[in-house]
């Protein structure tokens, strides 16, 4: 049997800005910054521990406001070197926070309803934010191949980031993904490998590949670089608050796949409070899932702390993670903030995609249909307060999931005459 060298973390001489070490979220065990993701003591997730002690609040605010129109305006709060904006990357972020007055009227929201529209990122989903962090970590640790397990959006984000940065990419997806996502990942020229199985099978494969010589030297953005990658979702929290005038929203509705995005948005909000950049007052975080893949909402509604895995069966494939790594932490955040986790059916998802499109001109992918659908459901149930400032996330572009709204089409087909136009009742 082959004897392998056990990988050890690099020492902390790497320059990743304010990132000081990796710390286990479960047991607090600390290790130096390196391409490791699970605690050697308890298997818990490793997170970045920062040193923000030198920051003056007003100076930091000025520095951020004078920064680039991308996530790099928040570089002082991320695990990246100070000159990150000068390195070849996709410069994602600073997407629109749309005041959705038409949708608000339709849903009866009076306290202000906003859509954080992350379809405006370079590869049309929020994944560009997280990949940009992982890319900097990959550079710092000397990797030259970027890889990942993906439900589709991440595959495109990794392919594009690798192309811009001059890295090789090799990404793994379930073989039956939406054709739009396959094309949008393959076009960047990296290797795209379909795995016969669902996302959890792909994820398992990548986790095993990482410990094998075949995967040596590879930076898997959401496996061995996951502590860095996940921090990218904090920028959604920073942007939402800055775009609201350095103010916390009262309620945020966030989709749940692995749960990482939701927990990191909470972390970002907590950091802004601790740094004095926003007023310290309560906010509520709500998680949204599709009924066909609802392990976290099922646990939430049952009052459980443990998330029992499910076999996904939903059109919301970007959220189809049956065994969500951060599921238990989502439950903690929703309960701590007084929020909730809810799910909607596939027909409700499609209806919500159409609702957002016809009220605000925003064409969301299925994950956006999930958040809008859950928002409507929670408003009807009296769980979301219509008098409070509410932000709903749209994490991706509807062009990626055209199949979901395939029944949408022509209102009529007519001859090119005015009579025909009138006969069709269109006048």
């Amino acid at each position: 049997m082959a004897v392998q060298t056990v990988a050890t973390p690099s020492d902390s001489t790497v320059d990743l800005g304010p990132a000081a070490a990796l710390s286990c979220r479960e047991c607090g065990h600390r290790v130096p910054l390196g391409p490791v993701f699970a605690c050697e003591e308890c298997f818990g997730p490793l997170e970045i521990a920062y040193d923000f002690s030198a920051y003056d609040t007003e100076e930091l605010r000025r520095r951020i406001e004078a920064g680039p129109a991308s996530i790099w305006r928040y570089a002082p709060l991320l695990p990246v070197p100070a000159d990150v904006a000068e390195k070849p990357n996709l410069n994602p972020g600073w997407t629109k926070l749309v005041k959705a007055d038409n949708l608000a009227r339709e849903l009866g929201v009076t306290g202000g309803l906003y859509v954080k529209d992350d379809s405006g990122n370079p590869t049309h989903s929020f994944k560009d934010r997280v990949v940009a962090q992982a890319l900097e970590a990959a550079r710092a640790f000397g990797f030259t191949t970027l890889s990942c397990s993906s439900t589709g959006n991440l595959a495109g984000a990794v392919g594009a980031a690798a192309a811009r940065a001059g890295f090789r990419s090799c990404v793994f997806i379930p073989h039956d993904l939406e054709q739009g996502k396959v094309v949008m990942a393959a076009v960047y020229g990296g290797e795209l490998v379909g795995i016969e199985g669902n996302y959890d099978d792909v994820n398992r494969f990548c986790s095993e590949l990482i410990g094998d010589p075949a995967g040596e030297g590879w930076g898997f953005v959401n496996v061995n670089l996951r502590p860095y990658y996940a921090e990218g979702s904090k920028t959604l929290a920073y942007e939402i608050c800055e775009q609201l005038g350095w103010r916390l929203p009262d309620q945020i509705v966030i989709p749940i796949a692995s749960g990482s995005q939701l927990t990191k948005i909470d972390k970002g909000l907590q950091e802004l409070i601790k740094l004095g950049l926003v007023e310290d007052r309560p906010y509520k975080i709500f998680g949204a899932q599709a009924e066909g893949c609802s392990p976290v909402s099922t646990a939430f509604k049952a009052g459980h702390d443990v998330v029992r895995p499910q076999k996904p069966d939903t059109i919301a494939k970007s959220l189809a993670i049956g065994n969500p790594a951060d599921g238990p932490y989502v439950l903690d955040v929703a309960r701590r903030t007084g929020g909730a986790v809810e799910d909607v059916t596939d027909p409700e998802i499609v209806d919500a995609i159409r609702l957002l499109a016809r009220t605000e001109g925003i064409f969301a992918e299925t994950a956006g249909g999930v958040t809008v659908g859950v928002t409507r459901k929670l408003l009807q149930a009296g769980v979301l307060d219509p008098a409070k400032t509410t932000v709903v996330l749209n994490t991706g572009d509807g062009l990626k999931t055209l199949d979901a709204v395939a029944g949408t089409g022509l209102s009529a087909t007519i001859r090119p005459t005015l009579d025909s136009f009138r006969e069709a009742g269109l006048a």
């Binding site: 082959a2 392998q4 056990v6 699970a38 605690c39 298997f43 095993e208 410990g211 959401n222 029992r308």
Partner: protein, 91 residues
């Protein structure tokens, strides 16, 4: 029953750096007990204080996630492959 256990990188300090080790046992629980005999300390990394699988550990017997089966009571047929994998990946 003789099985092959795939060891994740973070546990290879207990197996002398080996990525795969043999073990004996008719159930996953027995396999972990046998691993502990030959690689002292490994069970405490995989099991919590109550002797249950830690929540951030995924274990597969062949292609089956034991959480969909019988957990530590999942049968481990002769020649089976057992994989221990950190659960904090993906997303």
């Amino acid at each position: 029953m003789s099985v092959t256990v795939r060891i994740p990188t973070i546990l290879r300090t207990y197996t002398g750096g080996r990525a795969e080790v043999p073990a004996e046992g008719g159930t996953l629980g027995e396999v972990i007990a046998d691993l502990e005999k030959n690689h002292t300390g490994i069970a405490a990394r995989v099991l919590d204080d109550q002797g249950k699988l830690r929540r951030f550990v995924n274990v597969y017997v062949n292609d089956d996630d034991v959480r969909f089966e019988q957990g530590l009571d999942t049968a481990t047929p002769d020649g089976a492959g057992v994989s221990i994998i950190p659960a904090v990946a993906g997303g």
